[in-house]
């Protein structure tokens, strides 16, 4: 059962119950929709980018505890960062969730996001954790189609 507790850590449950930065962003400069067809998770991510900085970010949608808390944690992590910093965080997060579960993750590189490392024990759930991040990438590059995790 330890791996279940690793997945559903208190921080994750808290972000699931009380997602941060949840709601519309009327003065968004760009946004994207993400969809995980496997589980029906859908989210809309809205960014306000001023110069090269993400000055505000909000998300809306429905999803499982993992995708919702991941989106919530992500918005906290990227708010106030530059676009380049956010992109780098995307890479580090991606690196973390795709590292085999028997290898240690570099917690310092991802900060608070390290609570999602437990998802590696659950291959079917990695996509849930990644959905918000793929949607972020789509929003930053203003891709016209909904981001997909498939």
């Amino acid at each position: 059962m330890q791996d279940l507790h690793d997945l559903y850590q208190e921080v994750i449950l808290d972000h699931n119950r009380r997602p941060r930065n949840f709601g519309p962003l009327p003065d968004a400069t760009q946004s994207a929709k993400g969809h995980n067809p496997l589980c029906g998770d859908k989210l809309t991510l809205s960014l306000k980018v001023e110069g090269d900085r993400i000055t505000d970010v909000m998300f809306e949608g429905s999803g499982c505890a993992i995708s919702k808390s991941s989106a919530s944690l992500m918005t906290d992590a990227i708010k106030g960062r530059t676009v380049d910093e956010a992109t780098e965080l995307f890479d580090r997060f991606h690196q973390m969730v795709t590292t085999p579960s028997d290898q240690p993750v570099d917690e310092a590189a991802v900060g608070k996001l390290a609570v999602l490392a437990g998802v590696r024990e659950f291959p079917a759930r990695v996509k849930c954790a990644s959905l918000a991040w793929h949607t972020l990438k789509a929003a930053l590059t203003k891709a016209p189609d909904p981001a997909k995790t498939e």
Partner: protein
């Protein structure tokens, strides 16, 4: 919650679930240190030892191409392959084995009809009528056929319980209706549709009828002569058979008149560069080397089911459904999706504030295998305004103990996430 708050149905004398389970090797395992409770039968059923043995025997002894050789192995392979066709013919009580076409799966069977029949018969303005509870495989091929031919797709709505609203269905069957394609038993809601009544309505306007029996075939006896659809399709892997084999039953005169689907070897009687002559039925629709092993395995699976009998299977599954419905309904915050008047042992549900995906992950760690998601029926999810459901689907080898294990596991979900 006491595990046996609901009376456990008495085991029927003719049906010994322990003895049935013992014949399925995959059911004997532990998952995450817990005994496996396999409750995902609507996705695919496990295989009895006799089916696994039949595959093995074919590859070890009889492996050869069919309908092509004069040597001993080819004759044995051909005999076993054709014997399976007869077994399937008897299963659905078709008049002739010429009416049984082997395909890869139900999806291919429906695509075959949508192509070969659809492109031949559908004209601009014609209508294809489906129901709101179809699997994607009975939606998309018709959308594609409509796009090719200019026909129009119509959808008969369902009510909150998961029954097709028959007044609406009747209203939608008009002289424009050329095809009525409906599911016999819903993989999400468990609804058993009144297909006889639907076929009678289609007959009044001369429409052709396809019934998707993918889920029905392993729960109930099907008699295509009594039901009288034009096409009836199902898939081998859900009736305890191998993957890679499906069935299309088609009325002989209609199959005979239809143009072929795929072209190639086996489906012709003569080929010159100017012209090819089509082979007779059912071979006209079986281009290329078929999945011989899987066809033979399917025949063995059908014999296995027939030997137990749908009466005994039906009684056992009905008792399981009643037990599971009562137990699940008592789980705090759980709501069943699909409570049709006539339904089979498929229980879709949602739990307040808990996403099905989280439910699925947590109960898996308790050894309980259920499906979560949209079950290849996104329009059904939209109908009930839910992103997904969790689904327990029960087969002949399931037990009340396994339902208890699910209920205990759901308790754990609430404990962990609630």
């Amino acid at each position: 919650m006491t595990p046996h708050a609901v009376p456990v149905p008495a085991a029927s004398s003719s049906f010994d679930v322990k003895a049935v389970r013992a014949q399925f090797p995959a059911l004997q395992q532990q998952v995450h240190g817990k005994p496996l409770a396999y409750l995902d039968n609507a996705a695919t059923t496990q295989k009895p030892q006799v089916v696994i043995d039949a595959l093995r025997h074919y590859y070890e002894r009889d492996n050869a191409n069919v309908h092509r050789g004069v040597h001993a192995l080819s004759e044995r392979a051909t005999a076993a392959f054709e014997a399976s066709r007869r077994t399937v013919q008897q299963l659905v009580n078709a008049v002739s084995e010429r009416e049984i076409v082997f395909t890869r799966n139900a999806t291919e069977s429906i695509n075959l009809v949508a192509r070969a029949w659809g492109d031949w018969q559908l004209k601009p303005g014609d209508e294809v009528l489906i129901s709101a509870m179809e699997h994607h495989s009975n939606i998309v091929p018709w959308q594609m056929a409509c796009a090719r031919t200019g026909a129009i797709l119509k959808v008969a709505p369902i009510d909150d319980r998961g029954d097709v609203i028959m007044e609406e269905f009747e209203r939608l069957v008009t002289t424009k209706t050329k095809m009525v394609a409906v599911v016999h038993l819903s993989n999400v809601l468990g609804t058993i549709n009144p297909v006889e009544e639907m076929i009678a309505l289609a007959r009044r306007v001369g429409a052709t009828v396809l019934i998707d029996g993918s889920q029905a075939a392993y729960h109930m006896a099907v008699d295509v002569q009594a039901m009288a659809p034009d096409f009836y399709v199902f898939t081998g892997h859900k009736i305890y058979g191998p993957t890679g084999i499906g069935v299309l039953y088609g009325r002989e005169s209609l199959l005979d008149a239809m143009p072929p689907f795929l072209g190639g070897g086996d489906m012709i009687s003569s080929v010159t560069f100017e012209k090819s002559e089509w082979n007779g039925l059912p071979y006209k629709f079986e281009a290329g080397t078929p999945n011989i092993a899987a066809a033979i395995g399917l025949g063995r699976a059908v014999e296995f089911v027939r030997d137990i009998g749908f009466e005994a299977i039906g009684a056992h599954e009905a008792a399981l459904l009643a037990y599971a419905t009562e137990r699940l309904s008592a789980v705090p915050g759980l709501r069943l999706v699909g409570t049709a008047r006539r339904k089979a042992s498929v229980l879709s549900f949602v739990m307040s504030d808990l996403h099905p995906h989280d439910i699925g992950t947590i109960v898996d760690r308790e050894g309980v295998a259920i499906r979560t998601g949209h079950h290849c029926a996104q329009p059904v999810m939209d109908r009930y305004s839910i992103p997904a459901t969790a689904r327990a689907s029960l087969a002949m080898y399931n037990t009340t103990d396994e339902i208890d294990a699910l209920v205990v596991a759901l308790d754990r979900v609430r404990h962990l996430l609630g």
